[in-house]
């Protein structure tokens, strides 16, 4: 029996390994030149500050399993179903067959250009959370003019919970990511003023709330409840922001040396294409719809096609890996069933 997995991010890698261990043949397709997906862009992970690349290395290492064939730099151009088998045509000419198809196409980050009022791509010192991770990787935090920032603001919910961008959903991880990044920033910039502008702090995972408390007490991060309305730039290339402190109930104006946009999650373009090719339904939040929110979280409206990871909803890495293992189990059950 063989399973075709599309997407070799953390979900795809983990599911591939679990299925391979169970004796299934796995064809793992990845459009990029290397596996890892969005994990490649991260420096450290919450809540334990584990190195993202260390986790990535462990996941990739397990792809050397003899039952896994990895197709890098490949994209499906056609997906057919013949006599209960899936035939996936790749852009390099290969034709893969399998009894089950697992979609692990993941998410993509919200394109911050769409929120033009925050000035991303227009003001020099507006960056996204991913770019900040990149700064951490290079251990260089500086403004566009080459100075150490004295005041840094994190803007939560950019492209999440925002009717204007048609994204009603909560991306779940940006809150805790902002807390993590603020702490990392404090370690590099002990003197700087660091602020987070939030709507709600959604600390859903184990250890998250504790991190949030520590960020306030130990790391002196200031949390301001209020959404940013707009930003502009002054001659010194600082970002002037307008917001409202909704706890005090007063409008607020401030200059930031560096503004970090906590961009939300959306269904990736690749996942969207796969959904269109295979007829998988999308939920109202734009992610792929699972068959049942309790009992069939990896199944879809298409028999034999399964989902793993953040293509079905925003997930942190813990949940992504758990979901991948759950998908592997579900697929094994399914294969046993069609065997009979």
């Amino acid at each position: 029996m063989s399973v075709i997995i599309i997407g070799a991010g953390p979900a795809g890698c983990e599911a591939a390994y679990q299925l391979a261990q169970a004796g299934e043949k796995v064809e793992l397709i990845e459009q990029e030149a290397q596996p890892g997906g969005n994990l490649n862009n991260w420096y450290q992970l919450f809540p334990d500050r584990k190195s993202a690349q260390e986790l990535n290395r462990q996941l990739i290492l397990r792809l050397e399993h003899p039952n896994i064939r990895l197709h890098l730099g490949c994209m499906p151009t056609k997906i057919d179903r013949r006599e209960g088998r899936f035939e996936v045509q790749l852009n390099d000419g290969a034709l893969l067959t399998g009894q089950a198809l697992l979609i692990a196409g993941g998410f993509q980050l919200f394109n911050a250009h769409r929120k033009e009022e925050y000035g991303y791509g227009i003001y020099e010192n507006v960056i996204t959370s991913v770019e900040l991770e990149n700064f951490f990787t290079n251990q260089r935090i500086q403004t566009s003019t080459g100075q150490l920032p004295k005041r840094v603001g994190f803007i939560h919910c950019v492209g999440s919970r925002d009717e204007k961008t048609c994204n009603f959903h909560c991306s779940k991880l940006c809150c805790v990511t902002a807390v993590k990044q603020a702490i990392e920033l404090r370690e590099i910039l002990p003197e700087a003023e660091i602020l987070c502008f939030y709507m709600d702090m959604r600390m859903f995972g184990p250890g998250y709330e504790e991190m949030y408390r520590e960020a306030q007490e130990k790391y002196r991060i200031k949390f301001v409840r209020g959404r940013l309305s707009e930003a502009s730039e002054n001659k010194a290339k600082q970002v002037l922001i307008k917001a409202e402190d909704t706890l005090i109930g007063k409008p607020l104006k401030m200059t930031l040396d560096l503004m970090v946009l906590m961009v939300g999650m959306e269904l990736s373009a690749g996942s969207r294409q796969l959904a269109e090719m295979t007829g998988i339904e999308k939920a109202t939040n734009g992610f792929l719809r699972v068959k049942d929110p309790h009992f069939a979280t990896n199944e879809t409206n298409q028999k034999g096609i399964f989902l793993a990871g953040s293509c079905s909803s925003p997930m942190n890495l813990t949940d992504t890996l758990t979901d991948a293992r759950s998908a592997a189990l579900t697929i094994r059950e399914y294969l046993k069933h069609i065997d009979l």
Binding site: N111, H113, R114, E116, E117, G119, I122, Y123, E163, K164, T165, C166, F168, E230, A231, S232, E233, K242, P251, T284
Partner: protein, 589 residues
Amino acid sequence: MYYDPFVLPFTLGLNILLIYLIIKYARWIRTFSTEDRQTIRRNIFTLKTWKAGKEVFLESLVHHKIFRINPFLGYMHLCFGLGWFLLIVIGKIESLVYHTSIFNPPYFAIFFRYFHPAKETFPGSNVFAFFMDLILLMILSGLLLAWLKRLYSKALGLKRTTRHRPFDLLILTVLWLIFPLRFLAESFTSGLRGGGSFLTHTAGDFFNSFLPIEQLSYPAWWAYSSALGLFFLLLPFSRYMHIPTEIVYIFLKNWEVRQGKHFSGISQFQLYSCSRCGICIDRCQLGSSLGMTDTQPVYFLKKLRHGKEHSILVDNCLMCGRCEAACPVDLRLNALRLTQRQEDIRITKSTYEYIRPAAAKTTAKVAYFAGCMGHLTPGVIRSMQSIFHKAGVDYTFIDEGGSICCGRPMMLSGNHHTAAIIQEKNKASLEASGAELLVTSCPICYKTFKEDYRLDMQVLHHTEYLDILLREGALHPHCSDITTVFHNPCELGRGCQVYTAPEHILQTISHRIATAYEGKDALCCGGSLANLHISPQQRLQLAEDALNAYAAYRPDVLVTACPLCKKTFSQPGSSLPVQDIAELVDGQC
């Protein structure tokens, strides 16, 4: 004295109709404000009345605007409008030539073939007979097209035709019966006594060969007269009320009686002037993109007129003005819908007390106002600042530190009182700058500044201003191969009639690709502030469809001139880059 009892249904119907119309119109006109009455008195004895007469001929009779939509559809309306008119006028002249008595009642001309002994000729009687037959033939050919339109509207250039009430279908049948009955009555009489011309005479001979026309002729005249009488009696309660009302409306419009914020006498005239032709249906993107086919003006006005529930229809309109631009009767459809939106927000002058007093007077002659939407697209502000710098313009950025809304969104939601408070606050700060020229980046602000604010300075949208700078040579565009398609924002194009400036700019700095959506036919981006009903997902769908329509021309850039359009178009995540015209000009100069 010529008389026969069969003329009674026609005569009664016509007289009752005329009395009804006089009472109805007098009542509406009585509700006109003193201001409106003064306007009418001022304009009635001017060329405007002549212009109105010309418009009545062109629109009510020839229907020349409908020809632009589809020649067959135009011809169909021309047959009924001009055809019927000529039938009455030439018939009247014919009857006067024959019998020049002043006691020539209206029915004498209408039923002339019945009363006129065919053998008795009079000057030009053959020519008259020929023309009367020709006109009748023309109307009958139009009738054929009308049938075809009911069966298959696409043949006449309409994807969808109006869904009518059963009552309107009844009167439609009566109308359709009138001309075939006239044809039969005249043919039978001609077959019996001679007379008529190529149509009725030939048909008369033909019918005579196999029908007992002697028995049929008199009943046919009764039927014709009854159909006319019934049509006149039903007319006030049907959509055909538009026939007389439209004429009055055209005069009132030309005398500059304006549709105000509230439902008034002129609104009544407009309401009854809607012919329910259904041309607005295909123009509406809520229909073409979202399948909402019950909210178009034709249905809204119908519900309003007949007192049916219409609260959703009031809110569900983009007010993009695409329907208004195509309306053959030239009704103020947006303003009419707006009269039905209720005030629901209460603010007082103290609400805006927190706003700091206006900035001190500057020496700059040009004041730049980005507007609150403009502040959501800092890229546009930046480009304008750069352009001012390149052109060496001394300017002041009056809302650099922010401002309050111009009030137009409030106005569009029916909150005129709130809008007035906002306007007052804004006006003070705009005029405090002391500038001579106000340049704004937002067409929404632009429209209200121009129409409602009565500022003591000139107001231009940046599109117009950039055009002036380019024409004066203050900016120096370099050669460019970039291809562009222009999306004219609703508030700028149809809203403020700014059409040539953006066209000229794009021709100067790029290769402008002409599309099917030029000028008044521009699409709505879907971001409209005026629609209070649709969901964000539906807006996204509108934006996607509009983007795809423009993308089909494969431009390098889709250019617009409104911060709201730009933002709306950036949401679907299309591969087609969208820029404001200011950003393009800045990049090319």
